[in-house]
């Protein structure tokens, strides 16, 4: 897997992956996730939706493909889901919890 540091805006074709341990550590508890950014010494709490999206940012699928899977699973319009996924992904990248693949 090749990881890039390109910081231009995300596109639906972007593939993201969690930054690896020990840079980022996380634990899931009762459907929510607590993520610790070791370098930034910051701790983040992801709600249940955020936790679901976090688990899908595993470096194997583009944001568009991830959105399509979620839209199909939850019976929601794909464009609407893509907007939500892009917003979440942008936020995760802004706080340095994920990095781009490829």
């Amino acid at each position: 897997m090749t990881v890039t540091n390109n910081r231009e805006g995300l596109s639906p074709s972007t593939v993201l992956v969690h930054r690896e341990s020990p840079a980022v550590e996380y634990v899931e508890v009762d459907g929510e996730t607590v993520v610790y950014d070791c370098a930034g010494n910051a701790i983040h709490l992801l709600d249940q939706i955020g936790t679901l999206l976090w688990t899908l940012l595993d470096g194997t699928a583009s944001l568009r493909a991830t959105s399509a899977d979620l839209a199909a699973a939850f019976g929601r319009p794909p464009d609407e889901v893509l907007d939500d996924v892009m917003r979440f992904a942008t936020e995760m990248e802004a706080v340095d919890l994920v990095e781009r693949v490829g």
């Binding site: 341990s21 020990p22 550590e25 996380y26 634990v27 899931e28 508890v29 009762d30 929510e32 996730t33 607590v34 610790y36 070791c38 701790i43 709490l45």
Partner: protein
């Protein structure tokens, strides 16, 4: 009485000392005795006292941790000043017994025995920060007569302290507001500083409630993930323990122990607030 200090097998390092003009003045102001070396976790810690009697007490109290062969090689990290000892000017010192960490006063007591137990707590604190097997949780702690522990925001300690005797009459022991060793998976406090309350070192006490400081005006229930998030900032040993085991330990604790978000407390409302908490625990 003798204090058991946690030791490990790694080669100990001298605990760094902050060299400041204030420390130089403190050193010049009193007739300090020789510095006594103690091993605390992975550290060699130096303790000096302003009287031979006090030095003897320190030596006896921490006999199990003494490393006299290093006495001349450790910095004076802690200075124990017992009032009533004669200082270099021949005058009597103040009627308050003090412990300094470097140049800073970190304990003050009217009873020398209490002061030395404070010193034991301070040394425990240094050892706890190096522990890599248990969570070192900074918290106020109250032990009920049934030996269950309530962990409370560290800031609550100051509000509860004036009521310590009243709490004791209710069967509640208020412990020092320092770090407490917690086994997250078992939701238990592992006694270290608790020993002087009739609890043996290593004994485990169940945690019945964990109260964490929140910025709201009212008490609130916390979700387990919120407990992990807030609890992380109370840990004194993240560096030694590493973040992942720390998160796992906190998650274990959050799943097993009821947790509440607690606002800041005034001394006036401290006892009623604690009594109300006990109804939840």
């Amino acid at each position: 009485m003798s204090i058991i200090v946690q030791t490990d097998i790694a080669a100990p390092r001298p605990l760094p000392q902050r060299h400041t003009p204030c420390l130089s003045r403190l050193t010049a102001r009193r007739p300090w005795g020789p510095t006594l070396a103690l091993r605390v976790g992975c550290w060699q810690v130096g303790v000096r006292a302003n009287s031979a009697a006090a030095a003897e007490q320190v030596s006896a109290l921490f006999a199990g941790a003494r490393t006299p062969e290093l006495d001349d090689r450790v910095p004076a990290n802690f200075s124990v000043e017992i009032a009533g000892s004669t200082d270099s000017t021949g005058s009597r010192s103040r009627g308050l017994h003090l412990v300094y960490r470097d140049h800073e006063i970190v304990a003050r007591r009217h009873e020398p025995g209490d002061l030395l137990l404070d010193l034991a707590d301070l040394l425990d604190e240094i050892g706890n920060a190096e522990r890599c097997d248990l969570l070192a949780v900074r918290a106020a702690a109250v032990v009920r007569s049934n030996q269950q522990v309530l962990l409370l925001p560290a800031s609550w300690h100051a509000a509860l302290l004036p009521h310590q005797a009243r709490l004791a009459r209710d069967g509640l022991d208020l412990l020092p507001a320092r770090s407490h060793l917690v086994d997250g998976a078992a939701a238990q406090v592992v006694a270290s500083t608790l020993r002087r309350r009739g609890v043996q070192p290593g004994q485990r006490l169940d945690i019945c409630l964990w109260g964490l400081r929140v910025l709201t005006e009212h008490r609130c229930t916390l979700r387990p993930a919120e407990v992990v998030q807030l609890g992380f900032s109370t840990l004194a040993n993240v560096d030694a323990l590493r973040p992942r085991p720390a998160l796992d330990g906190l998650a274990g604790l959050a799943r097993r122990v009821p947790a509440l978000g607690l606002p800041q407390l005034s001394s006036r409302s401290a006892v009623p607030a604690l009594r109300e908490l006990l109804l939840h625990a």
